[in-house]
């Protein structure tokens, strides 16, 4: 198996279709617009030929993520805790308000806080889904839950993700 595969960014793609002409296996020609990974051999010809720069070569295996200092993680966790609480407060306001404008503002606040939390987690040791931190987190969840469907989903994830450390 090759080390990389081609992916197409549909928002950038200007349908010049050169990838269709140069691809040796027909992987670029699909009904969904996405490249057929089972056919892609990772040669990169499509990416080089693409005039709009919409095709990039993505690795199957990622390098280990950067290690983070414990104190930095602790401070970011403090912010995470606060943002999660704020999301929940806005959630309460959203659910209990009858005013459409207040609800709209609460919805925006819920979304903003969720996005900030997600971003904080990326910098607090969870940048890469294939990291050891993610693996430990999922294994921990698996132990804690009693919900059978959830267990299956977590096991599936652990199985699918190509952990790299």
């Amino acid at each position: 198996m090759s080390e990389v595969r081609a992916v197409r960014n549909l928002r950038i793609c200007s349908k010049d279709c050169l990838c269709l002409y140069v691809c040796p296996t027909g992987a670029t020609d699909t009904e969904t617009g996405q490249i057929d990974f089972s056919k892609c051999i990772g040669c990169g010809v499509c990416s080089k030929a693409c005039p709009s720069g919409a095709i990039s070569m993505v690795p199957y295996q990622y390098p280990k993520q950067q290690t983070k200092d414990d104190l930095v993680i602790a401070k970011l966790n403090k912010l995470i805790q606060s943002k999660v609480e704020q999301e929940q407060m806005a959630e309460y306001i959203y659910k209990n308000s009858n005013d459409s404008i207040e609800k709209q503002l609460a919805k925006a606040i819920i979304r903003a806080n969720r996005l900030m939390t997600e971003d904080l987690y990326r910098e607090a040791g969870f940048m890469l889904p294939q990291s050891k931190n993610t693996k430990d987190f999922l294994k921990n969840l698996l132990q804690q839950t009693k919900d059978e469907t959830l267990k299956k989903d977590i096991e599936k994830l652990i199985d699918l993700l190509d952990f790299n450390e």
Partner: protein, 208 residues
């Protein structure tokens, strides 16, 4: 003559060039680039000194709300790598834990503002000083963006308190990358906080 700087997008108001003192601008004056309100602007060159007392961080289990946010973050990570199935599974987990997470009872925008103040006055400052000391530029990046988004959030809640109708005849957008909230008819060309192109600023619809 002083210069005043927009803390969100970095726009500089130069009193000398403009010929009008910053203080003499009307209260409803806004940043011409990103729409940040006048009261957020800061005079140039203010050093913020943070006292270095260290509170010990207790080790604790993640709560359901936190688990949900970590899962939705990992779902985005998988999506970016074009790992569709993994992304869907993480989203499923995120929704499951969100439904289990408790909602803060009887919350109000006032209480939200006091949490926000605590972030701006304490949590961001402490995080910034540690991230600088450890030279963690990634952490500094998330702190810089988050602090700006939080400042705007605060000023929006203050405006809402003074005039509940200020968003009545306009639109609300949230940047899908950094969480910046923009209130206005036309969204800016790029997000003033993270500089992503405007198509990633998504409208928050008003329900019935």
């Amino acid at each position: 003559m002083k210069k005043y700087i927009c803390p969100i997008c970095g726009y500089v108001y130069d009193e000398e060039k403009e010929g009008i003192k910053f203080d003499d601008l009307p209260d409803d004056w806004k940043c011409p680039l990103c729409g940040a309100p006048k009261n957020l602007f800061k005079a140039e060159a203010i050093e913020v000194v943070v006292s270095e007392e260290d509170d010990e961080e207790e080790l604790r289990e993640m709560n359901y709300g936190e688990i949900s946010a970590l899962c939705s973050s990992l779902a985005r990570g998988c999506e970016k790598q074009y790992l569709g199935e993994e992304s869907k599974l993480f989203t499923k987990l995120a929704n499951y834990y969100k439904s289990k997470s408790e909602i803060k009872e009887s919350s109000s925008f006032e209480e939200l503002v006091s949490k926000i103040n605590n972030d701006l006055e304490t949590n961001y400052q402490k995080a910034r000083s540690v991230a600088s000391e450890k030279e963690d530029r990634g952490a500094l990046r998330v702190i810089t963006w988050g602090e700006k988004v939080t400042m705007i959030l605060k000023s929006l809640l203050e405006q809402y308190k003074n005039d509940k109708d200020f968003i009545k005849n306009t639109k609300v957008y949230v940047c899908d990358i950094c969480g910046f909230i923009y209130v206005g008819d036309e969204k800016p060309e790029i997000c003033p906080v993270c500089k992503v192109p405007s198509f990633k600023l998504l409208e928050v619809e008003r329900g019935a």
